[in-house]
């Protein structure tokens, strides 16, 4: 499946169990405690990362609150 992360199309292995939390692990996203995630334009509740599925065609933005990455 293909999703768009920070404006770039990214191909991922098919996985029906994939959630936002598992995607952050899979992509080894840095400084997870600081990252904000937008899914299809909506800011996600940080506490719900483990319950929100990621599906083909989704658009995600990983955002940090400062230019230095945290």
């Amino acid at each position: 499946m293909t999703i768009t992360i920070n404006g770039k199309e990214t191909a991922l292995a098919e996985s029906p169990a994939r959630t936002v939390a598992s995607l952050l692990d899979e992509l080894e996203v840095a400084q997870r405690q600081y990252v904000t995630v937008e899914l299809n334009g909506e800011i996600l509740d940080r506490d719900a990362f483990g319950n929100i599925p990621v599906r083909g065609g989704d658009t995600l933005e990983f955002l940090y609150f400062m230019g230095g990455g945290r």
């Binding site: 920070n6 404006g7 600081y34 955002l63 609150f65 400062m66 230019g67 230095g68 990455g69 945290r70």
Partner: protein, 414 residues
Amino acid sequence: MDTPLRFDSLLVHGGLEAGPAGATAVPIVQSSSFAYETADALEDVFRGRAAGQVYTRLGNPTTEALERRLALLDGGGTAIATASGMAAITTTVMTIVRAGDEVLASSSLFGGTFSLFRDTLSNFGVTARFVDPLDPESVRAAINDRTRLLFVETVGNPKLDVPDIPQLAGIAHEAGVPLVVDATVTTPYLADGAKLGADIVIHSTSKYINGSGTSIGGAIIDRGVFNWNSPRFPHFETFHKKYRQFAFTARARKLVHKDVGACAAPFNSFLLTEGILTLALRMERHCDNALALARFLKAHPKVAWVNYPGLEDSPGHEVATRLYGGRYGGLLTFGTGAKETAFRVINALAMVKNLANIGDAKTLVIHPASTICADYSLADKALMGVSEDLIRVSAGIEDRDDIIEDFNRALDAI
């Protein structure tokens, strides 16, 4: 490293990333701005999609290395290094309050902070109310619906009162108000922000963290533990939604720190990272020398009074012993009964410097009533614990016998 380092090792290694060519000191990146190959890459950094530096007012690699280490020393979270300690306080308060809000603060504040709260912020519709930090019930009673933060110093400068910070944290948190603690006098070495229960820790890094009197700087440490999702903080709603426990740092970084522009200079950030390396060793000596000098002065027939939290009969001794692990810092005050004799003592000192600073390797004195507190009324001075005969001493790290001999000779002048 997998095993968390202990405090003294964090001072030396914490937050350090490998520098160019294997450099182990923090490189000084003396550049105003940072270039990117493509417009897309710079857009990503501005949007927060990618890590990177843009402009030194917003962030700088040398300053970021300092910030990483400072955050670790206070028990974790994030840090913002600023141009001065007062810049750190101003940025913190402006991030939290809006016109119509109130700041509740200790009545024994450092003069610069007192002036910021009472005289400057009042021009922008923010009211400061002052309470005795040693009276927890009056602190509790003074919190109202408009209170947006409680601000205290770990040890009042120069009053040297020692509030029970964890108790005040409990009172603030019961009311849903963040506790901002200025820990300049104690440093993270005597107690970190986590132990104190502070939500935000302020340091004037110009003092003990620098340690050599070479540069002015400040720091704001957001421990990431306060819940900003509250009707008391409607202006944090968007920031809380996006950044959760780091809503304060996000609001500071994206608005106030960026817009006010009181950023740290890269060279000063380098000097501060160098200073941190020896903080533990220096604090031990500052504390030892201050205690030895306090005991000497207390026994001297020409000295009317001495205040040092390390003296057993000091009002702050019990709380300081409990909170700061048997160390009492480098500041002490004493009096010889009159301004005139205070001046004679200061004028007769040979090695000890007469200047407006604390936390230097050098032993320092000042007569606050005629200098740093000269603009205040007698009533305000009384509130700050500044009497006309008070000499403030910042004990340095010289040989204690040289310090004591200098004061002994100077006291002969009266």
